[in-house]
Subunit: 311 residues, 2 copies
Protein backbone atom coordinates (compact mmCIF):
# COMPACT_ATOMS: atom_id res chain seq x y z
CA UNK A 1 0.00 0.00 0.00
CA UNK A 2 1.31 3.36 -0.97
CA UNK A 3 3.15 5.28 1.77
CA UNK A 4 3.90 9.00 1.86
CA UNK A 5 6.31 10.47 4.41
CA UNK A 6 6.70 14.15 5.19
CA UNK A 7 9.29 15.67 7.49
CA UNK A 8 12.70 17.26 7.59
CA UNK A 9 15.63 16.16 5.47
CA UNK A 10 18.57 17.94 6.96
CA UNK A 11 22.12 18.16 8.15
CA UNK A 12 22.98 17.10 11.67
CA UNK A 13 26.23 17.55 13.53
CA UNK A 14 26.35 15.26 16.53
CA UNK A 15 28.53 15.00 19.58
CA UNK A 16 28.23 12.02 21.90
CA UNK A 17 30.62 10.71 24.57
CA UNK A 18 31.93 8.39 21.84
CA UNK A 19 32.88 10.96 19.26
CA UNK A 20 31.55 13.68 17.03
CA UNK A 21 30.51 14.07 13.41
CA UNK A 22 30.72 16.82 10.85
CA UNK A 23 27.52 17.63 9.01
CA UNK A 24 25.87 14.32 8.15
CA UNK A 25 22.50 13.52 6.65
CA UNK A 26 19.72 13.67 9.21
CA UNK A 27 16.17 14.87 9.68
CA UNK A 28 12.98 13.10 10.74
CA UNK A 29 11.89 12.14 7.22
CA UNK A 30 15.30 10.67 6.46
CA UNK A 31 15.17 8.27 9.38
CA UNK A 32 11.49 7.51 8.82
CA UNK A 33 11.99 6.77 5.12
CA UNK A 34 15.07 4.60 5.54
CA UNK A 35 13.39 2.66 8.33
CA UNK A 36 10.12 2.18 6.42
CA UNK A 37 12.03 1.07 3.31
CA UNK A 38 12.80 -2.23 5.04
CA UNK A 39 9.08 -3.01 4.94
CA UNK A 40 8.05 -1.63 1.56
CA UNK A 41 9.27 0.37 -1.41
CA UNK A 42 8.90 2.98 -2.67
CA UNK A 43 8.60 5.36 0.26
CA UNK A 44 7.26 8.59 -1.23
CA UNK A 45 9.08 11.49 0.37
CA UNK A 46 7.80 15.06 0.74
CA UNK A 47 10.53 17.39 2.03
CA UNK A 48 12.71 20.37 1.17
CA UNK A 49 16.48 20.91 1.10
CA UNK A 50 18.78 23.68 -0.12
CA UNK A 51 21.20 23.42 -2.98
CA UNK A 52 23.94 22.66 -0.45
CA UNK A 53 22.47 19.20 -0.02
CA UNK A 54 24.77 16.67 -1.72
CA UNK A 55 23.49 14.75 -4.71
CA UNK A 56 25.16 11.70 -3.18
CA UNK A 57 22.81 11.83 -0.19
CA UNK A 58 19.80 12.05 -2.47
CA UNK A 59 21.13 9.07 -4.40
CA UNK A 60 21.58 7.22 -1.14
CA UNK A 61 17.90 7.73 -0.35
CA UNK A 62 16.92 6.63 -3.86
CA UNK A 63 19.07 3.51 -3.59
CA UNK A 64 17.09 2.60 -0.48
CA UNK A 65 13.82 2.81 -2.33
CA UNK A 66 12.89 6.38 -1.45
CA UNK A 67 10.94 8.22 -4.17
CA UNK A 68 12.33 11.77 -4.14
CA UNK A 69 9.90 13.31 -6.60
CA UNK A 70 8.39 15.24 -3.69
CA UNK A 71 11.78 16.45 -2.47
CA UNK A 72 12.11 20.14 -3.35
CA UNK A 73 15.60 21.52 -3.86
CA UNK A 74 15.67 25.28 -3.26
CA UNK A 75 18.31 27.02 -5.35
CA UNK A 76 20.37 29.55 -3.45
CA UNK A 77 19.07 28.39 -0.08
CA UNK A 78 20.54 26.26 2.66
CA UNK A 79 19.26 23.04 4.18
CA UNK A 80 17.93 22.79 7.71
CA UNK A 81 20.83 22.30 10.13
CA UNK A 82 20.78 21.05 13.69
CA UNK A 83 23.70 20.35 15.97
CA UNK A 84 23.55 18.90 19.43
CA UNK A 85 25.64 17.46 22.19
CA UNK A 86 24.58 14.52 24.34
CA UNK A 87 25.20 14.14 28.05
CA UNK A 88 27.54 11.39 29.29
CA UNK A 89 24.66 9.00 29.91
CA UNK A 90 23.04 9.94 26.55
CA UNK A 91 19.78 10.62 28.39
CA UNK A 92 19.69 14.32 27.67
CA UNK A 93 21.01 16.56 24.96
CA UNK A 94 21.78 20.19 24.45
CA UNK A 95 20.95 21.90 21.17
CA UNK A 96 24.00 23.84 20.00
CA UNK A 97 22.60 25.19 16.72
CA UNK A 98 19.25 25.26 14.95
CA UNK A 99 19.23 26.90 11.52
CA UNK A 100 15.78 26.57 9.97
CA UNK A 101 16.90 27.80 6.53
CA UNK A 102 14.61 26.22 3.87
CA UNK A 103 12.26 24.89 6.54
CA UNK A 104 11.27 28.42 7.55
CA UNK A 105 8.79 28.72 4.69
CA UNK A 106 8.33 25.12 3.61
CA UNK A 107 5.34 24.79 1.29
CA UNK A 108 4.91 21.05 0.73
CA UNK A 109 4.14 20.05 -2.85
CA UNK A 110 2.41 16.73 -3.37
CA UNK A 111 3.28 15.21 -6.79
CA UNK A 112 0.35 13.68 -8.65
CA UNK A 113 2.00 10.29 -8.39
CA UNK A 114 1.65 10.53 -4.59
CA UNK A 115 -2.13 10.95 -4.71
CA UNK A 116 -2.62 7.20 -4.32
CA UNK A 117 -1.40 7.62 -0.72
CA UNK A 118 -3.07 5.19 1.67
CA UNK A 119 -0.63 5.52 4.55
CA UNK A 120 0.61 8.96 5.55
CA UNK A 121 3.41 9.59 8.04
CA UNK A 122 3.67 13.14 9.30
CA UNK A 123 7.18 13.41 10.70
CA UNK A 124 7.96 16.17 13.20
CA UNK A 125 7.45 19.57 11.55
CA UNK A 126 5.39 22.70 12.13
CA UNK A 127 1.86 21.33 12.67
CA UNK A 128 0.43 23.82 10.16
CA UNK A 129 2.67 22.28 7.47
CA UNK A 130 1.70 18.77 8.52
CA UNK A 131 -1.96 19.78 8.16
CA UNK A 132 -1.38 21.24 4.69
CA UNK A 133 -0.25 17.83 3.49
CA UNK A 134 -3.46 16.21 4.66
CA UNK A 135 -5.45 18.96 2.96
CA UNK A 136 -3.53 18.61 -0.29
CA UNK A 137 -4.23 14.92 -0.62
CA UNK A 138 -7.39 14.51 -2.70
CA UNK A 139 -8.48 11.40 -0.83
CA UNK A 140 -8.10 11.01 2.89
CA UNK A 141 -5.49 8.27 3.55
CA UNK A 142 -6.57 5.07 5.27
CA UNK A 143 -4.21 5.82 8.14
CA UNK A 144 -2.47 9.03 9.20
CA UNK A 145 0.30 8.77 11.79
CA UNK A 146 1.69 11.96 13.31
CA UNK A 147 4.87 12.52 15.26
CA UNK A 148 5.49 15.82 17.02
CA UNK A 149 7.40 17.29 19.94
CA UNK A 150 7.10 19.58 22.94
CA UNK A 151 8.46 22.57 20.98
CA UNK A 152 5.15 22.87 19.09
CA UNK A 153 3.20 22.58 22.34
CA UNK A 154 5.10 25.63 23.55
CA UNK A 155 4.91 27.82 20.44
CA UNK A 156 1.99 26.62 18.29
CA UNK A 157 -0.52 24.83 20.49
CA UNK A 158 -3.65 25.84 18.55
CA UNK A 159 -2.12 24.66 15.28
CA UNK A 160 -0.96 21.51 16.92
CA UNK A 161 -4.40 20.70 18.30
CA UNK A 162 -6.00 21.34 14.91
CA UNK A 163 -3.64 18.84 13.29
CA UNK A 164 -3.88 16.26 16.07
CA UNK A 165 -7.66 16.28 15.60
CA UNK A 166 -7.22 15.05 12.02
CA UNK A 167 -4.90 12.08 12.58
CA UNK A 168 -5.45 8.44 13.51
CA UNK A 169 -2.28 7.73 15.46
CA UNK A 170 -0.27 10.23 17.49
CA UNK A 171 3.28 9.36 18.54
CA UNK A 172 4.92 11.37 21.34
CA UNK A 173 7.16 10.71 24.31
CA UNK A 174 6.09 10.42 27.94
CA UNK A 175 7.02 13.96 28.93
CA UNK A 176 5.17 15.32 25.92
CA UNK A 177 2.10 13.23 26.75
CA UNK A 178 2.14 14.72 30.23
CA UNK A 179 2.58 18.25 28.92
CA UNK A 180 -0.14 17.89 26.29
CA UNK A 181 -2.69 16.40 28.67
CA UNK A 182 -1.78 18.04 31.96
CA UNK A 183 -2.00 14.57 33.52
CA UNK A 184 0.90 12.81 35.21
CA UNK A 185 -0.55 9.29 34.96
CA UNK A 186 0.07 8.06 31.44
CA UNK A 187 -3.20 6.14 31.49
CA UNK A 188 -5.12 9.32 32.23
CA UNK A 189 -2.98 11.28 29.77
CA UNK A 190 -3.74 8.76 27.03
CA UNK A 191 -7.50 8.94 27.61
CA UNK A 192 -7.42 12.70 27.44
CA UNK A 193 -5.27 12.83 24.31
CA UNK A 194 -7.40 10.25 22.50
CA UNK A 195 -10.27 12.57 23.32
CA UNK A 196 -8.54 15.19 21.17
CA UNK A 197 -9.05 13.06 18.06
CA UNK A 198 -6.53 10.24 17.53
CA UNK A 199 -7.97 6.75 17.91
CA UNK A 200 -4.53 5.40 18.78
CA UNK A 201 -1.76 6.87 20.88
CA UNK A 202 1.84 5.75 21.08
CA UNK A 203 3.82 6.97 24.08
CA UNK A 204 7.56 6.48 23.58
CA UNK A 205 9.55 5.99 26.77
CA UNK A 206 13.05 5.68 25.34
CA UNK A 207 15.06 2.98 27.11
CA UNK A 208 11.85 1.94 28.89
CA UNK A 209 9.99 1.00 25.70
CA UNK A 210 6.73 2.23 24.27
CA UNK A 211 3.03 2.06 25.11
CA UNK A 212 0.26 1.72 22.54
CA UNK A 213 -3.21 2.85 23.62
CA UNK A 214 -6.55 2.27 21.87
CA UNK A 215 -9.88 2.73 23.62
CA UNK A 216 -9.39 0.84 26.89
CA UNK A 217 -6.61 -1.38 25.57
CA UNK A 218 -2.94 -0.98 26.41
CA UNK A 219 0.04 -2.72 24.86
CA UNK A 220 3.50 -2.43 26.39
CA UNK A 221 6.47 -2.97 24.09
CA UNK A 222 9.66 -3.06 26.12
CA UNK A 223 12.87 -1.66 24.71
CA UNK A 224 15.69 -4.13 24.34
CA UNK A 225 18.21 -3.53 27.14
CA UNK A 226 21.35 -2.63 25.19
CA UNK A 227 24.93 -3.05 26.27
CA UNK A 228 25.97 0.08 24.42
CA UNK A 229 24.02 3.00 23.00
CA UNK A 230 26.21 4.91 20.62
CA UNK A 231 23.96 7.71 19.34
CA UNK A 232 20.24 8.08 20.11
CA UNK A 233 19.65 10.57 17.27
CA UNK A 234 16.75 9.52 15.09
CA UNK A 235 15.63 6.62 17.27
CA UNK A 236 12.08 7.97 17.61
CA UNK A 237 11.80 8.64 13.88
CA UNK A 238 13.24 5.24 13.05
CA UNK A 239 10.62 3.73 15.35
CA UNK A 240 7.85 5.67 13.58
CA UNK A 241 9.16 4.67 10.14
CA UNK A 242 9.30 1.01 11.10
CA UNK A 243 5.81 1.27 12.57
CA UNK A 244 4.06 2.79 9.57
CA UNK A 245 6.16 0.81 7.08
CA UNK A 246 5.01 -2.41 8.68
CA UNK A 247 1.36 -1.31 8.66
CA UNK A 248 1.51 -0.15 5.04
CA UNK A 249 3.19 -3.38 3.92
CA UNK A 250 0.66 -5.58 5.67
CA UNK A 251 -2.28 -3.20 5.06
CA UNK A 252 -3.83 -4.19 8.36
CA UNK A 253 -4.63 -1.52 10.94
CA UNK A 254 -6.13 -3.79 13.60
CA UNK A 255 -4.87 -3.34 17.16
CA UNK A 256 -3.22 -6.77 16.95
CA UNK A 257 -1.26 -5.78 13.88
CA UNK A 258 -0.36 -2.41 15.39
CA UNK A 259 1.27 -4.32 18.25
CA UNK A 260 3.43 -6.18 15.74
CA UNK A 261 4.21 -2.87 14.06
CA UNK A 262 5.30 -1.40 17.39
CA UNK A 263 7.66 -4.34 17.96
CA UNK A 264 9.03 -3.98 14.44
CA UNK A 265 9.54 -0.23 14.96
CA UNK A 266 11.24 -0.89 18.30
CA UNK A 267 13.59 -3.38 16.64
CA UNK A 268 14.46 -0.86 13.93
CA UNK A 269 15.15 1.80 16.58
CA UNK A 270 17.37 -0.59 18.52
CA UNK A 271 19.59 -0.84 15.44
CA UNK A 272 19.58 2.91 14.82
CA UNK A 273 21.27 3.75 18.13
CA UNK A 274 24.16 1.36 17.53
CA UNK A 275 26.05 3.74 15.23
CA UNK A 276 26.21 7.45 14.41
CA UNK A 277 23.32 8.97 12.47
CA UNK A 278 21.70 6.79 9.81
CA UNK A 279 24.73 4.53 9.36
CA UNK A 280 23.25 1.41 10.93
CA UNK A 281 20.06 1.75 8.88
CA UNK A 282 21.84 1.55 5.56
CA UNK A 283 22.57 -2.14 5.26
CA UNK A 284 20.55 -4.30 7.59
CA UNK A 285 19.83 -7.82 6.44
CA UNK A 286 16.51 -9.65 6.70
CA UNK A 287 18.26 -12.17 8.98
CA UNK A 288 19.50 -9.46 11.35
CA UNK A 289 16.03 -7.96 11.53
CA UNK A 290 14.32 -11.27 12.20
CA UNK A 291 16.88 -12.17 14.85
CA UNK A 292 16.35 -8.81 16.57
CA UNK A 293 12.57 -9.17 16.51
CA UNK A 294 12.94 -12.60 18.06
CA UNK A 295 14.98 -11.02 20.86
CA UNK A 296 12.06 -8.70 21.56
CA UNK A 297 9.67 -11.64 21.69
CA UNK A 298 11.99 -13.63 23.96
CA UNK A 299 12.44 -10.68 26.29
CA UNK A 300 8.88 -10.84 27.61
CA UNK A 301 8.10 -14.49 27.02
CA UNK A 302 6.67 -16.34 29.99
CA UNK A 303 6.00 -20.04 29.64
CA UNK A 304 2.84 -20.86 31.59
CA UNK A 305 3.34 -23.21 34.52
CA UNK A 306 2.53 -26.80 33.60
CA UNK A 307 1.08 -27.85 36.93
CA UNK A 308 -1.26 -25.95 39.19
CA UNK A 309 0.55 -22.96 40.63
CA UNK A 310 -0.45 -20.69 43.45
CA UNK A 311 -2.11 -17.46 42.37
CA UNK B 1 8.83 -25.04 51.24
CA UNK B 2 9.74 -23.21 54.38
CA UNK B 3 10.30 -19.47 53.99
CA UNK B 4 12.09 -17.15 56.41
CA UNK B 5 11.90 -13.38 56.06
CA UNK B 6 14.11 -10.87 57.84
CA UNK B 7 13.75 -7.12 57.73
CA UNK B 8 12.26 -4.17 59.52
CA UNK B 9 8.86 -4.16 61.19
CA UNK B 10 8.19 -0.57 61.94
CA UNK B 11 6.02 2.50 62.14
CA UNK B 12 5.64 4.69 59.07
CA UNK B 13 3.99 8.09 58.81
CA UNK B 14 3.27 8.92 55.19
CA UNK B 15 2.28 12.03 53.36
CA UNK B 16 1.24 11.86 49.70
CA UNK B 17 -0.66 14.35 47.53
CA UNK B 18 -3.77 12.37 48.47
CA UNK B 19 -3.52 12.60 52.22
CA UNK B 20 -1.43 11.70 55.22
CA UNK B 21 -1.36 9.01 57.86
CA UNK B 22 -0.46 8.88 61.52
CA UNK B 23 1.92 6.11 62.55
CA UNK B 24 0.84 2.98 60.72
CA UNK B 25 2.44 -0.44 60.45
CA UNK B 26 5.26 -0.50 57.92
CA UNK B 27 8.74 -1.86 57.37
CA UNK B 28 10.28 -4.04 54.69
CA UNK B 29 9.57 -7.35 56.44
CA UNK B 30 5.93 -6.40 56.99
CA UNK B 31 5.29 -5.83 53.30
CA UNK B 32 7.38 -8.86 52.28
CA UNK B 33 5.59 -11.17 54.72
CA UNK B 34 2.08 -10.01 53.87
CA UNK B 35 2.82 -10.30 50.15
CA UNK B 36 4.43 -13.74 50.44
CA UNK B 37 1.53 -14.98 52.56
CA UNK B 38 -0.64 -15.02 49.43
CA UNK B 39 1.59 -17.80 48.06
CA UNK B 40 2.33 -19.84 51.16
CA UNK B 41 1.90 -19.94 54.91
CA UNK B 42 3.46 -19.70 57.36
CA UNK B 43 5.93 -16.94 56.58
CA UNK B 44 8.54 -17.15 59.32
CA UNK B 45 9.44 -13.64 60.41
CA UNK B 46 12.70 -12.49 62.00
CA UNK B 47 12.48 -8.88 63.18
CA UNK B 48 12.51 -6.61 66.21
CA UNK B 49 10.06 -4.05 67.59
CA UNK B 50 9.78 -2.03 70.79
CA UNK B 51 7.08 -2.39 73.42
CA UNK B 52 5.26 0.51 71.75
CA UNK B 53 4.27 -1.82 68.92
CA UNK B 54 0.57 -2.63 69.22
CA UNK B 55 -0.46 -6.19 69.93
CA UNK B 56 -3.21 -5.68 67.35
CA UNK B 57 -0.62 -5.25 64.59
CA UNK B 58 1.16 -8.41 65.65
CA UNK B 59 -2.18 -10.21 65.60
CA UNK B 60 -2.82 -8.82 62.13
CA UNK B 61 0.40 -10.38 60.90
CA UNK B 62 -0.47 -13.67 62.57
CA UNK B 63 -3.93 -13.67 61.03
CA UNK B 64 -2.23 -13.43 57.63
CA UNK B 65 -0.16 -16.53 58.30
CA UNK B 66 2.96 -14.83 59.60
CA UNK B 67 4.83 -16.84 62.24
CA UNK B 68 6.04 -14.25 64.77
CA UNK B 69 8.14 -16.54 66.92
CA UNK B 70 11.22 -14.77 65.56
CA UNK B 71 9.80 -11.30 66.27
CA UNK B 72 11.64 -9.87 69.27
CA UNK B 73 9.79 -7.34 71.44
CA UNK B 74 12.23 -5.12 73.32
CA UNK B 75 10.84 -3.92 76.63
CA UNK B 76 11.40 -0.24 77.32
CA UNK B 77 12.49 0.45 73.76
CA UNK B 78 10.81 2.02 70.78
CA UNK B 79 10.13 0.61 67.31
CA UNK B 80 11.88 1.84 64.19
CA UNK B 81 10.07 4.89 62.85
CA UNK B 82 10.25 6.47 59.43
CA UNK B 83 8.25 9.34 58.06
CA UNK B 84 8.35 10.70 54.57
CA UNK B 85 6.62 13.01 52.17
CA UNK B 86 6.13 12.29 48.49
CA UNK B 87 6.40 14.77 45.65
CA UNK B 88 3.29 15.69 43.66
CA UNK B 89 4.08 13.12 40.97
CA UNK B 90 4.98 10.49 43.62
CA UNK B 91 8.28 9.91 41.84
CA UNK B 92 10.48 11.20 44.63
CA UNK B 93 10.19 11.42 48.37
CA UNK B 94 11.77 13.31 51.17
CA UNK B 95 12.59 11.60 54.44
CA UNK B 96 11.25 13.69 57.31
CA UNK B 97 12.27 11.45 60.20
CA UNK B 98 14.32 8.31 60.67
CA UNK B 99 14.46 6.96 64.22
CA UNK B 100 16.40 3.69 64.28
CA UNK B 101 15.46 2.87 67.90
CA UNK B 102 15.45 -0.95 68.30
CA UNK B 103 17.05 -1.42 64.87
CA UNK B 104 20.26 0.29 66.05
CA UNK B 105 21.51 -2.88 67.74
CA UNK B 106 19.32 -5.56 66.20
CA UNK B 107 20.71 -9.01 66.94
CA UNK B 108 18.55 -11.42 64.93
CA UNK B 109 17.56 -14.58 66.78
CA UNK B 110 16.62 -17.59 64.68
CA UNK B 111 14.15 -19.86 66.51
CA UNK B 112 14.87 -23.59 66.23
CA UNK B 113 11.60 -24.01 64.35
CA UNK B 114 13.01 -21.79 61.58
CA UNK B 115 16.04 -24.03 60.95
CA UNK B 116 14.14 -25.91 58.24
CA UNK B 117 14.45 -22.72 56.12
CA UNK B 118 14.82 -23.47 52.40
CA UNK B 119 13.97 -20.01 51.10
CA UNK B 120 15.46 -16.97 52.80
CA UNK B 121 14.42 -13.39 52.05
CA UNK B 122 16.79 -10.74 53.36
CA UNK B 123 14.73 -7.56 53.39
CA UNK B 124 16.51 -4.20 53.43
CA UNK B 125 18.58 -3.90 56.63
CA UNK B 126 22.20 -3.31 57.58
CA UNK B 127 24.09 -5.86 55.43
CA UNK B 128 26.04 -7.11 58.47
CA UNK B 129 22.75 -8.08 60.10
CA UNK B 130 21.53 -9.75 56.89
CA UNK B 131 24.76 -11.77 56.86
CA UNK B 132 24.34 -12.81 60.49
CA UNK B 133 21.07 -14.50 59.57
CA UNK B 134 22.74 -16.56 56.86
CA UNK B 135 25.47 -17.54 59.31
CA UNK B 136 23.00 -18.50 62.02
CA UNK B 137 21.12 -20.92 59.82
CA UNK B 138 22.64 -24.36 60.31
CA UNK B 139 22.00 -25.39 56.70
CA UNK B 140 22.43 -23.07 53.78
CA UNK B 141 18.98 -22.36 52.28
CA UNK B 142 18.23 -23.51 48.75
CA UNK B 143 17.71 -19.89 47.69
CA UNK B 144 18.72 -16.62 49.31
CA UNK B 145 17.19 -13.41 47.95
CA UNK B 146 18.55 -10.08 49.14
CA UNK B 147 17.06 -6.63 48.86
CA UNK B 148 19.13 -3.57 49.73
CA UNK B 149 19.38 0.14 48.98
CA UNK B 150 21.82 2.91 48.07
CA UNK B 151 22.17 3.97 51.71
CA UNK B 152 24.32 0.88 52.44
CA UNK B 153 26.42 1.52 49.35
CA UNK B 154 27.23 4.91 50.83
CA UNK B 155 27.92 3.94 54.43
CA UNK B 156 28.76 0.20 54.54
CA UNK B 157 30.06 -0.86 51.15
CA UNK B 158 32.49 -3.52 52.42
CA UNK B 159 29.78 -5.14 54.53
CA UNK B 160 27.39 -4.92 51.64
CA UNK B 161 29.80 -6.60 49.23
CA UNK B 162 30.48 -9.39 51.73
CA UNK B 163 26.76 -10.11 52.02
CA UNK B 164 26.05 -9.80 48.28
CA UNK B 165 28.72 -12.44 47.69
CA UNK B 166 26.70 -14.95 49.70
CA UNK B 167 23.28 -14.59 48.05
CA UNK B 168 21.66 -16.11 44.97
CA UNK B 169 19.39 -13.26 43.90
CA UNK B 170 20.00 -9.56 44.45
CA UNK B 171 17.11 -7.11 44.07
CA UNK B 172 17.89 -3.40 43.65
CA UNK B 173 16.60 -0.49 41.60
CA UNK B 174 18.15 0.94 38.43
CA UNK B 175 19.94 3.82 40.13
CA UNK B 176 21.36 1.47 42.72
CA UNK B 177 22.55 -0.94 40.02
CA UNK B 178 24.36 1.95 38.35
CA UNK B 179 25.89 3.10 41.63
CA UNK B 180 26.99 -0.38 42.67
CA UNK B 181 28.55 -1.22 39.30
CA UNK B 182 29.76 2.17 38.11
CA UNK B 183 28.16 1.33 34.75
CA UNK B 184 25.36 3.32 33.16
CA UNK B 185 24.17 0.57 30.81
CA UNK B 186 22.01 -1.80 32.84
CA UNK B 187 23.24 -4.73 30.75
CA UNK B 188 26.84 -3.94 31.66
CA UNK B 189 25.84 -3.17 35.25
CA UNK B 190 24.12 -6.55 35.54
CA UNK B 191 27.15 -8.47 34.26
CA UNK B 192 29.40 -6.71 36.73
CA UNK B 193 27.07 -7.23 39.67
CA UNK B 194 26.55 -10.92 38.89
CA UNK B 195 30.36 -11.08 38.96
CA UNK B 196 30.15 -10.07 42.64
CA UNK B 197 28.39 -13.35 43.49
CA UNK B 198 24.64 -13.44 42.80
CA UNK B 199 23.61 -15.78 39.99
CA UNK B 200 20.46 -13.74 39.42
CA UNK B 201 19.89 -10.02 39.49
CA UNK B 202 16.58 -8.17 39.57
CA UNK B 203 16.68 -4.51 38.60
CA UNK B 204 13.49 -2.71 39.64
CA UNK B 205 12.53 0.26 37.49
CA UNK B 206 9.37 1.41 39.28
CA UNK B 207 6.67 2.45 36.82
CA UNK B 208 8.86 1.04 34.02
CA UNK B 209 8.81 -2.52 35.33
CA UNK B 210 11.62 -4.85 36.30
CA UNK B 211 14.45 -6.72 34.61
CA UNK B 212 15.60 -10.20 35.60
CA UNK B 213 19.15 -11.17 34.59
CA UNK B 214 20.78 -14.61 34.67
CA UNK B 215 23.96 -15.38 32.77
CA UNK B 216 23.30 -13.99 29.30
CA UNK B 217 19.53 -14.12 29.64
CA UNK B 218 17.29 -11.11 30.22
CA UNK B 219 13.61 -11.04 31.08
CA UNK B 220 11.64 -7.78 31.01
CA UNK B 221 8.52 -7.61 33.15
CA UNK B 222 6.62 -4.41 32.42
CA UNK B 223 4.78 -2.62 35.17
CA UNK B 224 1.07 -2.25 34.66
CA UNK B 225 0.32 1.33 33.62
CA UNK B 226 -1.93 2.53 36.43
CA UNK B 227 -4.55 5.22 36.32
CA UNK B 228 -3.85 6.24 39.89
CA UNK B 229 -0.97 5.54 42.22
CA UNK B 230 -2.02 6.36 45.73
CA UNK B 231 1.03 5.53 47.84
CA UNK B 232 4.21 3.86 46.52
CA UNK B 233 5.47 2.94 50.00
CA UNK B 234 6.39 -0.72 50.23
CA UNK B 235 5.97 -1.49 46.52
CA UNK B 236 9.52 -2.84 46.17
CA UNK B 237 9.17 -4.98 49.30
CA UNK B 238 5.78 -6.24 48.18
CA UNK B 239 7.36 -7.20 44.87
CA UNK B 240 10.15 -9.07 46.68
CA UNK B 241 7.67 -10.84 48.94
CA UNK B 242 5.55 -11.93 46.01
CA UNK B 243 8.65 -13.09 44.17
CA UNK B 244 10.10 -15.30 46.90
CA UNK B 245 6.68 -16.46 48.06
CA UNK B 246 5.92 -17.75 44.59
CA UNK B 247 9.29 -19.51 44.33
CA UNK B 248 8.95 -21.08 47.78
CA UNK B 249 5.41 -22.26 47.07
CA UNK B 250 6.37 -23.84 43.73
CA UNK B 251 9.85 -24.92 44.91
CA UNK B 252 11.25 -24.33 41.44
CA UNK B 253 14.17 -21.95 40.96
CA UNK B 254 14.55 -22.34 37.19
CA UNK B 255 14.84 -19.15 35.15
CA UNK B 256 11.42 -19.89 33.61
CA UNK B 257 9.80 -20.08 37.02
CA UNK B 258 11.63 -16.97 38.21
CA UNK B 259 9.98 -15.10 35.32
CA UNK B 260 6.58 -16.20 36.60
CA UNK B 261 7.64 -15.15 40.10
CA UNK B 262 8.61 -11.71 38.82
CA UNK B 263 5.19 -11.30 37.19
CA UNK B 264 3.49 -12.44 40.38
CA UNK B 265 5.59 -10.00 42.43
CA UNK B 266 4.79 -7.20 39.99
CA UNK B 267 1.08 -7.95 40.30
CA UNK B 268 1.31 -7.86 44.10
CA UNK B 269 3.15 -4.52 43.94
CA UNK B 270 0.52 -3.09 41.62
CA UNK B 271 -2.08 -3.72 44.33
CA UNK B 272 0.10 -2.31 47.09
CA UNK B 273 0.24 1.19 45.60
CA UNK B 274 -3.55 1.46 45.33
CA UNK B 275 -4.03 2.38 48.99
CA UNK B 276 -2.06 3.75 51.93
CA UNK B 277 0.52 1.50 53.53
CA UNK B 278 -0.34 -2.19 53.77
CA UNK B 279 -4.11 -1.67 53.50
CA UNK B 280 -4.55 -3.14 50.01
CA UNK B 281 -2.52 -6.23 50.92
CA UNK B 282 -4.80 -7.25 53.75
CA UNK B 283 -7.73 -8.77 51.90
CA UNK B 284 -6.98 -9.62 48.29
CA UNK B 285 -8.95 -12.47 46.81
CA UNK B 286 -7.59 -15.25 44.60
CA UNK B 287 -9.84 -13.96 41.80
CA UNK B 288 -8.46 -10.43 42.04
CA UNK B 289 -4.92 -11.76 41.93
CA UNK B 290 -5.56 -14.00 38.93
CA UNK B 291 -7.31 -11.20 37.06
CA UNK B 292 -4.39 -8.87 37.73
CA UNK B 293 -1.84 -11.45 36.56
CA UNK B 294 -3.86 -11.90 33.39
CA UNK B 295 -3.64 -8.14 32.82
CA UNK B 296 0.14 -8.42 32.96
CA UNK B 297 0.10 -11.25 30.44
CA UNK B 298 -2.27 -9.35 28.12
CA UNK B 299 -0.13 -6.23 28.33
CA UNK B 300 2.73 -7.71 26.33
CA UNK B 301 0.87 -10.32 24.31
CA UNK B 302 1.54 -10.26 20.60
CA UNK B 303 -0.37 -12.68 18.41
CA UNK B 304 1.96 -13.84 15.63
CA UNK B 305 0.87 -12.85 12.13
CA UNK B 306 -0.98 -15.66 10.39
CA UNK B 307 0.35 -15.02 6.89
CA UNK B 308 3.87 -14.17 5.85
CA UNK B 309 4.73 -10.71 7.09
CA UNK B 310 7.62 -8.49 6.12
CA UNK B 311 10.55 -8.66 8.49
Amino acid sequence: MSLVVIGSVAFDALETPFGKTDKIIGGAATYISLSASYSLKPVKLVAVVGDDFPQSDILLLQEHGVDTEGLQIKEGEKSFFWSGKYSTDLNSRETLTTELNVLADFDPIIPDSYQDCRYLMLGNLAPAVQRLVIQRLVNRPKLIVMDTMNFWMDVALDDLMATIEMVDVLSINDEEARQLSGEYSLVKAAKKIMGFGPKFLIIKKGEHGALLFHKNKIFYAPALPLEEVFDPTGAGDTFAGGFIGYLAATDDISFDNMKRAVIHGSAMASFCVEKFGTERLLNLTKEQLEAREKQFADLVEVVPATSAQPA
